[in-house]
Amino acid sequence: MITTLIYSLTGLILFGMGFFTLIIHSHPLRKILAVNVMSTGVFLILVATAYIPLGEGEIDPVPHAMVLTGIVVSVSVTALALILACRIQETSNSSLPGRKQQGEVPEESIR
């Protein structure tokens, strides 16, 4: 029981840390990493729930399957977001004035 709790709380703290970083930083890479830390936190809590206190040595396979799905999704989104961030860097270096036409405030553009 206490093991599960420690894992869950660690996951929770990771989630909170990731969320804080996601909001306050404007750099795309930091944002992507922050979301990754958050998802790691959620996965940790999910894995911790798989531990069944009653049966010795038994685990609940359903959360494991869910975490595996979650990891795959997280990998896909991270890859896409990273390449998108690279692309933004490339285009904004070559044609910076393009942003202003769209009615966007550049400072807050990523936030």
């Binding site: 909170g16 909001i23 069944i52 396979p61 359903v62 494991h64 595996l68 799905t69 990998v75 896909s76």
Partner: protein, 235 residues
């Protein structure tokens, strides 16, 4: 801009407030987790009872590819979507380093890549009774692909684009095909016929492992390949 300097300085008012809020949120959720101890899930018993009908011995694989196989089918599509998304965004850009790659790295990758493929195959096969399966095998394959790409060995780069696309679609298409085949035979999507569950799951897993490995390696490459030759002509 304040982007780089600010992060090391003290937090301003908004950030402090946010920090306070986040800490409160974490403490509240922590209290909730602490005060609601998890009950024994209903699902666990159901999985344990139906395990022998699933065709595999590992409970996680049984959940992934049999009981909740529909989820996994959609999830494989998510991976493919990531590749389509990146291909729609940009071309793969691979600065060729040529002679800068050390011969030790070359030799090591030459040795490692086949071994990794072997490990991946073993993991897929092992998935039926122990921890392992398509995703773990695919991850190892993907790592091998990344090593080959980084070392600039010809392996992945000389594959024609059409074959790459076929390889990417192979797993998802095989999975969907199996699902439909089961629909026609037993009347349920992904309802494997009696006794055939084991080898059908292995077939789907093998196809998916290849596609997942290729997907991960191509995500690392970071974009679509050139018209017919892959990355060969890039500067």
């Amino acid at each position: 801009m304040s982007r780089t300097g600010k992060s090391h300085k003290r937090l301003d008012g908004f950030q402090r407030l946010l920090l306070l809020l986040v800490i409160c949120m974490v403490m509240l959720l922590g209290y909730i987790i602490w005060s609601t101890p998890g009950s024994k899930p209903v699902l666990t018993d159901a999985v344990a009872q139906m395990q022998e009908y699933s065709g595999v011995e590992s409970p996680v694989t049984a959940v992934l590819l049999n009981f909740r196989g529909y989820d996994t089918l959609l999830e494989v599509m998510v991976l493919l979507l990531a590749v389509i998304g990146t291909w729609s965004l940009t071309e793969a850009f691979f600065p060729v380093q040529g002679s800068e790659i050390s011969p030790v790295q070359m030799g090591a990758v030459r040795l490692l890549a086949p071994v990794m493929c072997l490990v991946a195959a073993y993991l897929v096969w092992q998935g039926s009774h122990l921890a392992g399966g398509a995703f773990q095998g695919g991850a190892i394959l993907g790592a091998a692909g990344v090593l080959v790409l980084v070392t600039e060995l010809p392996g992945l780069r000389t594959i024609p684009v059409l074959s790459l696309r076929i390889g990417l679609v192979l797993g998802p298409l095989l999975f969907t095909g199996t699902a439909l085949f089961c629909l026609f035979i037993t009347g349920d999507l992904l309802g494997y016929p009696k006794g055939a569950g084991g080898w059908m799951i292995l077939l789907v897993e093998t196809g998916c492992a290849v596609s997942i490995g290729l997907t991960l390696a191509l995500l690392f490459a970071g974009g679509r390949p050139d018209k017919e030759s892959i990355w060969k002509n890039n500067p």
